[in-house]
């Protein structure tokens, strides 16, 4: 990477004679350039779009879901997903509907079995009034995007307590993404302090920090932090556990970020403008914050995006084994606890749906991170 951040080189792929184009290019800010480069990457854009949809549906989970996710309905325990359709034996309509469904215990196998009656239509209506909830935690509402007037609608099925899996998955999306975001932010702050100190001061401080980081990195990550999670007192409230989990995720994530920040700072701290700032009497934190960080802010953003999937996967793994978030908090990992054994999945394969969300989210973050990384250095030929 060059330390020269001025667009002095003509863009190789553009014709210089096209003056309008060239002018636009020369006067563009760094982030505009990044955006133009990023726009060309189709897969990365799809990843970003998927993530935006996930974030929005998580944020407004109670609106997009027909229920609130905590209501238990005893007659619809372990109901298989009801797929909306337009036709049954009596013909087709424009209004989608789900067949009437009820779950009964099979007296021989003692399993819950879903009885579907395709002749009874449960018409789907949009913007229906249903269970009251608080949008974003503030605005009391009772309008849901869709719902049925009689009977039930569970497009992802229900869990063993008769709760709507679709709504719960959306709520879990909110929890998992938000815990990831907070985790990334805390990891970033930690990395900034530790990696910043190592990279800016160098010398023995750098040496000690490097050795300590190496030692932390040698212990297997998940088992190490499982130990911390196991230490959460049982009587902690779910919000206490939530914040403790963000700390653990931050601990999982900081070493990689710190190493990147250190490397960048080490390569930049000999630059003239840093020495000038130093001579002018600027404090280390000011030099790092005002002069050095902006020089590689785009890289930091990329690193944050790339470290996100690790947070999601760690949270899912820890909660899955019962050492992370606990019910009544709902996250992808907590939902997947119900699908821990083959027997459970055999009986109710739809309990595995949250895993698809994990995979899609991680994939989206990965392709988005790759796209951003390629776009992050717009002056690179």
């Amino acid at each position: 990477m060059t330390s020269n951040n001025y667009p002095t080189l003509p863009p190789p792929e553009k014709d210089l004679n096209e003056s309008e184009e060239a002018k636009r290019y020369y006067s563009a800010s760094q982030f505009q350039l990044i955006w133009w480069r990023f726009k060309k990457r189709r897969i990365a854009k799809i990843g970003a779009l998927v993530l935006i949809i996930m974030a929005l549906s998580g944020l407004f989970a109670e609106f997009f879901g027909p229920y609130t996710g905590t209501t238990r309905v005893s007659e619809s325990v372990l109901v298989a997903p009801q797929i909306p359709r337009f036709c049954n034996s009596e013909g087709c309509t424009l209004r989608p509907f789900v067949p009437s469904t009820i779950s009964k215990r099979n007296p021989e196998t003692l399993r819950m079995e879903t009885k579907v009656d395709p002749s009874v239509r449960r018409d789907i209506y949009f913007f229906v009034e249903g269970e009251p909830y608080e949008l974003l935690g503030f605005f009391p509402m009772n309008t849901h995007l869709f719902g049925v007037e009689e009977g039930t609608i569970h497009i992802f099925g229900t869990d063993s307590l008769g709760r709507d899996l679709y709504t719960r998955t959306l709520i879990a999306t909110r929890t998992s993404l938000s815990i990831g975001i907070i985790g990334v932010i805390i990891a970033f702050i930690l990395a900034l302090i530790i990696g910043g100190a190592a990279g800016y001061f160098g010398g023995w401080i750098d040496y000690v920090i490097q050795r300590l980081t190496e030692i932390v990195r040698v212990i297997p990550v998940i088992p190490l932090y499982m130990g911390l999670a196991a230490a959460f007192p049982k009587e902690w409230s779910s919000s206490q556990v939530y914040f403790a989990m963000t700390l653990i995720l931050a601990l999982v994530g900081w070493p990689t970020l710190a190493r990147r920040i250190r490397g960048k700072l080490l390569s930049l701290r000999g630059e003239d403008y840093v020495i000038a700032a130093n001579l002018a009497g600027a404090s280390p934190s000011r030099i790092i914050g005002r002069h050095l960080l902006p020089a590689f802010s785009s890289y930091i953003i990329v690193d944050l995006v790339i470290s996100f999937p690790y947070m999601l996967l760690s949270e899912t793994a820890l909660s899955f084994v019962g050492l992370g978030l606990r019910p009544p908090t709902v996250s992808w990992g907590v939902l997947l606890q119900d699908a821990q054994t083959v027997r459970a999945i055999e009986q109710a394969p739809w309990l595995f749906i949250p895993a698809l969300f994990v995979v899609v989210a991680v994939l989206s973050f990965t392709v988005l991170g790759d796209g951003l990384r390629d776009a992050a250095d717009p002056y690179q030929v």
Binding site: L212, E214, I215, V216, R217, V218, I219, P220, V221, I222, P223, L224, M226, G227, L228, A229, A230, A231, P233, P309, L313, T316, A317, F320, V321, G322, L323, L336, A339, Q340, T341, V342, I345, E346, P349, F352, A355, V358, V359, V360, V362, L363, T366, V367
Partner: protein, 331 residues
């Protein structure tokens, strides 16, 4: 070479010292102390009344009344000098008894996973690099993305589900029921090997995806070097020159990350073990965390980390053999 070996061995000892301190801190973290949990385990359900004096007795018995640094020293001294890892209260026996032969099972899983990872990722990664931008190459890139996005324990569940629904076989555990409590014999070893394949493939999943990309990237760099062009100009057969120049160098980054692979595998092991019901250290670690049986947990963490540190040591030595420049740089 001797100097190099001594330096690496010393480094290993220093690392393990700091690691053991960190692990001791984690063992001390859970609220309440060992004596209370021990007493609760031992007397719960018996109706016996536990008084503060009883607890103090237990504390004195285990030496819990002494300050933490002193306890750390006794703990580590017993491990280093006598190989004694302390008491496992959930099992009412010594940690050594609980861990016992599970160490060998864990090593068996580690090595079979590593073997699968390398036998797949090295040749396939090289192939992808040679056929860059072909359909196979793109397919392998997609596989690598999936290897990261689909965590091993979810893959394990998917495989188990497919196996039980479509093939009607169970793949859990490491031994068939008839061998589980038998002494070691030839039949039992073969039985173990046949059961090892599934967990090893599952654990190798993400490591393979990762190493495949590493091999591919290094191979691509090496394919563009002048030595390859010169060999081609001399008329050396394509497969011969591939083996002679780029392939030799492309395995270096794989070897230098052997410890990292071991770390990744052990990181995923407890969760995969839970899903597959494997009787090895990872699953036991998880169980002891849930029981807050911290002496067992600490011992397992220490053993797993030691295996990783040792793999790092091995990979350093191997690398020094394969690429003598390493020794020169590090002196």
């Amino acid at each position: 070479m001797v100097k190099f070996l001594i330096k690496r061995t010393l480094g290993m000892v220093v690392t393990m010292f700091f690691v053991s301190i960190m692990i001791f801190v984690i063992m001390e973290l859970p609220p309440g102390d060992y004596a209370e949990r021990w007493a609760f385990r031992k007397f719960s359900g018996t109706g016996a009344q536990i008084t503060e004096a009883d607890l103090d007795n237990i504390r004195a018995n285990f030496g819990l009344d002494r300050p933490a640094p002193e306890r750390y020293l006794t703990w580590i001294k017993d491990i280093v000098l006598h190989g004694d890892f302390g008491q496992a209260f959930a099992f009412q026996t010594s940690v050594n008894n609980v861990i016992g032969q599970k160490i060998w099972l864990t090593l068996a899983i580690l090595f079979s996973t590593l073997i699968i990872t390398y036998t797949i990722s090295i040749p396939v990664g090289m192939y992808a690099a040679v056929r860059q931008n072909s359909v196979e190459d793109h397919a392998l890139t997609i596989f690598s993305y999936l290897g990261f996005a689909l965590p091993n324990f979810l893959l394990a569940l998917v495989l188990l589900y497919i196996m039980t629904t479509y093939f009607g076989t169970s793949v859990g555990g490491l031994f068939s029921p008839e061998y589980a409590d038998e002494p070691w014999s030839k039949g039992k070893v073969l039985d173990l090997l046949s059961h090892l394949i599934i967990p090893a493939i599952i654990l190798a999943w993400s490591a393979t995806a990762f190493q495949l990309q590493t091999v591919r990237a290094t191979m691509l760099d090496e394919l563009n070097t002048l030595s390859v062009t010169a060999a081609r100009a001399r008329g050396v057969a394509e497969w011969k020159l591939l083996i002679k120049y780029p392939a030799r160098l492309a395995i270096n980054p794989v070897i230098s990350t052997m410890g990292f692979d071991a770390n990744r595998i052990f990181s995923e092991l407890p969760i995969v073990a839970l899903v597959l019901g494997l009787p090895e250290l990872g699953g036991l670690l998880l169980k002891s965390y849930l029981d807050l049986d911290m002496y067992v947990a600490g011992a397992i963490l220490l053993i797993l980390t030691f295996m990783i540190v040792f793999m790092n040591f091995l990979s350093d030595i191997l690398l020094a053999f394969l690429d003598p420049r390493v020794k020169l740089i590090e002196g």
